[in-house]
């Protein structure tokens, strides 16, 4: 099985007095098609880890491979291309564009692939249907509820059929019921073969997932396979 992600001795240090070691030497391998939960107290380095896995940031030292490619060898433009075609993100704050409809927000998931607007919208329409929001396509992003917004964000992450989806507390701003729905969407996506890493604060959510990584002070302190869902 191919490795979706491989990290070896990854350190991320933010300069300052004293410097912050957000990641203090992380070793981690995630295979294609895995669904992984990352848990840990606030400040333990979860988001930092996700950003480095998603090539939004570079490690201070250590090796980061995405789909077998050492990202240290890639230029900033190559990394952008990698994100455009290969990685989908979901964030706690949704980050929908206020001036656009739900459909166009989803279509923006393909914006930087160079696909024509008509094709992007067609794909977006399918993706919205998959998250159960077909009826909200023309609504402006600002008019949607929190749960609906996150579903739009998930549709945007999956519209390009990325191999890897990284979600940073996607349920953090939602009630537990809605959070479960969102997690269900992730599980569906994973069943189709997409590798997914989800950061969460919610233990019940984490317990549902097949693999759970626990972080503390920039280190992985526990990595266990749970009961497959």
């Amino acid at each position: 099985m191919n490795r979706a992600l491989h990290l070896e001795g990854v350190v991320k240090t933010y300069p300052g007095t004293p410097p912050v070691h957000a990641l203090a030497g992380v070793d981690l391998s995630i295979d294609d098609g895995e669904l992984v939960a990352v848990v840990g107290p606030s400040g333990s380095g979860k988001s930092t880890l996700l950003h480095i896995m998603g090539t939004l940031d570079r490690a201070t030292s250590g090796v980061v491979e995405v789909a077998g490619v050492d990202v240290a060898e890639l230029s900033d433009r190559d990394l952008s291309a990698l994100r455009a075609h290969h990685i989908g993100f979901v964030f706690q704050q949704f980050f929908l564009l206020a001036g656009e409809s739900a459909l166009d927000n989803v279509a923006d998931g393909l914006l930087y692939t160079g696909m024509a607007l008509g094709d992007r919208r067609a794909h977006a329409s399918d993706a919205l249907s998959r998250v159960g929001l077909a009826s909200r396509a023309t609504h402006m992003a600002t008019k949607l509820s929190g749960g609906e917004r996150q579903r739009v964000a998930i549709a945007r992450a999956l519209v390009g059929s990325p191999r890897l989806v990284l979600a940073d507390e996607p349920t953090g701003n939602l009630d537990s019921r809605t959070g479960m729905d969102i997690l269900g969407l992730m599980e569906d996506l994973n069943l189709e073969g997409t590798t997914i890493v989800v950061i969460t604060h919610d233990p019940t959510l984490a317990d549902r997932l097949p693999r759970r990584i626990s972080m503390l002070d920039g280190l992985i302190v526990d990595d266990r396979l749970g009961v497959p869902a």
């Binding site: 940031d57 952008s80 994100r83 980050f95 930087y112 692939t113």
Partner: protein, 402 residues
């Protein structure tokens, strides 16, 4: 395992680039309009100034065209030590013998004769008006028009008549000649038979009451001395005519003859307007500069506010360049809107003012093209720094903000 590197790069189609650049405008309409206002006023001022100066110039040119630029005014040099100066008796006859001369008309003044509404006004209050003795063809030579009545003609009537210049008529409060009116020209009552329109080329005549030679000789104390000769010459030979004129009309003392071309004065007035035009253009440029700073300011704020959006776009695969182009495009769009608004505003002002002056509306293409170019240039400069800042935003920092 190099599949990832081999894939297509991040791409943003030009149409999508334009859409991305417009997103800030759509979500922050009022602020966008306000920030475009500075550019709009600057461009508007410049277009209006250029439009107005062009319209007024074209009006002047058509005025000159109608008046003809081929009139020369021949006078004896006056000045300290020279006295009032007179032309020789045969000057008129000599002038008409110059080849290119088409028509000659002379005027003389009656010293001591002034223009009064009635005989009760003290002699000293002349009001700056004078009595001028004119040839019957003066109207034709000056290409003047009658506001009312008729001009002096050869047949001298049994009673003294006069034709008033436009300023004279106005000062005396005479608007028309429907009710028989007389004026007191020094020694005698004269009946007003005509009022002339303003003569753009000979303001002296506007401020005169004209009488015929016969009337001047019989009713006023006129000695027959010619003061000024007006000639119309073939336009292609105007310079030659001008050069030979002094020696022709006064062979003994050519240096005591002054030849002027009244249309030159009108052209000089146009040149004076240019200075004013430049001043207003300068003011417009300052407004433009302030507008540019305004846009830069709004863009810097926009970049700070939209860090989340920048982070998201980077996560979606935007390169730094894509981000820079988006914000630069937004700045260009703001300035472009200001530019279009400014051109419209300037055109509107020009049309309004030109209409009130009865001019043809002329907005030079260079003002429109130049205005738009200036606006976009300012937009590019104003957007450069904010765009670079946006491109430098770290995606992780941007995504942490909220």
């Amino acid at each position: 395992m190099t599949t990832v590197v081999d894939q297509a790069p991040s791409r943003l189609a030009p149409a999508d680039m334009a859409r991305a650049a417009g997103i800030g405008l759509r979500t922050r309409r009022l602020r966008s309009i306000l920030s475009a206002l500075g550019i709009m006023i600057g461009i508007g001022a410049m277009v209006a100034v250029l439009g107005l100066s062009e319209s007024s110039k074209s009006d002047l040119l058509s005025q000159l065209d109608a008046l003809g630029t081929n009139m020369l005014q021949v006078q004896a040099t006056s000045g300290i030590g020279l006295g009032p100066g007179t032309l020789p008796d045969e000057a008129v006859a000599m002038a008409s013998r110059v080849g290119p001369v088409e028509i000659v008309s002379s005027v003389g003044s009656v010293s001591g004769a002034n223009v009064y509404k009635n005989d009760l006004i003290p002699d000293t209050q002349t009001g700056g008006l004078s009595v001028v003795v004119a040839d019957p063809n003066l109207l034709e030579t000056l290409q003047g028009m009658m506001a009312d009545g008729v001009f002096l003609d050869e047949a001298s009537p049994d009673f003294p008549v006069t034709v008033l210049g436009s300023v004279t008529a106005e000062r005396l409060g005479i608007r028309d000649i429907e009710t028989p009116t007389v004026v007191w020209l020094g020694d005698e009552w004269f009946a007003v038979v005509g009022i002339m329109d303003t003569l753009a080329l000979s303001p002296d005549i506007d401020r005169a009451a004209l009488v015929s030679v016969a009337a001047a000789e019989s009713y006023l104390d006129y000695d027959g001395v010619v003061g000024t000769i007006y000639v119309r010459v073939d336009p292609s030979e105007i310079d030659d005519a001008r050069n030979v004129m002094p020696a022709t009309v006064n062979p003994e003392n050519p240096d005591q003859v002054q030849v002027t071309r009244p249309s030159d004065a009108l052209e000089a007035r146009e040149a004076a307007d240019t200075a004013l035009t430049n001043l207003f253009l300068g003011l417009g440029a300052v407004a433009l500069l302030v507008g540019g700073v305004g846009i830069a300011n709004v863009m810097v704020i926009s970049v700070m506010e939209r860090r989340g959006e920048i982070g998201l776009r980077r996560a979606l695969g935007a390169t730094r360049r894509h981000i820079a182009v988006q914000f630069l495009g937004e700045s260009l769009l703001l300035a472009g809107i200001g530019g279009v608004g400014g051109v419209l505003l300037g055109a509107l002002v020009t049309a309004g003012y030109a209409a009130s002056q009865g001019w043809d509306v002329l907005i030079p293409t260079v003002a429109i093209v130049g205005g738009m170019t200036a606006a976009l240039l300012i937009g590019a400069v104003a957007g450069l720094y904010p765009a670079m800042r946006a491109a430098r935003v770290s995606p992780t920092d941007a995504l942490r903000t909220l």
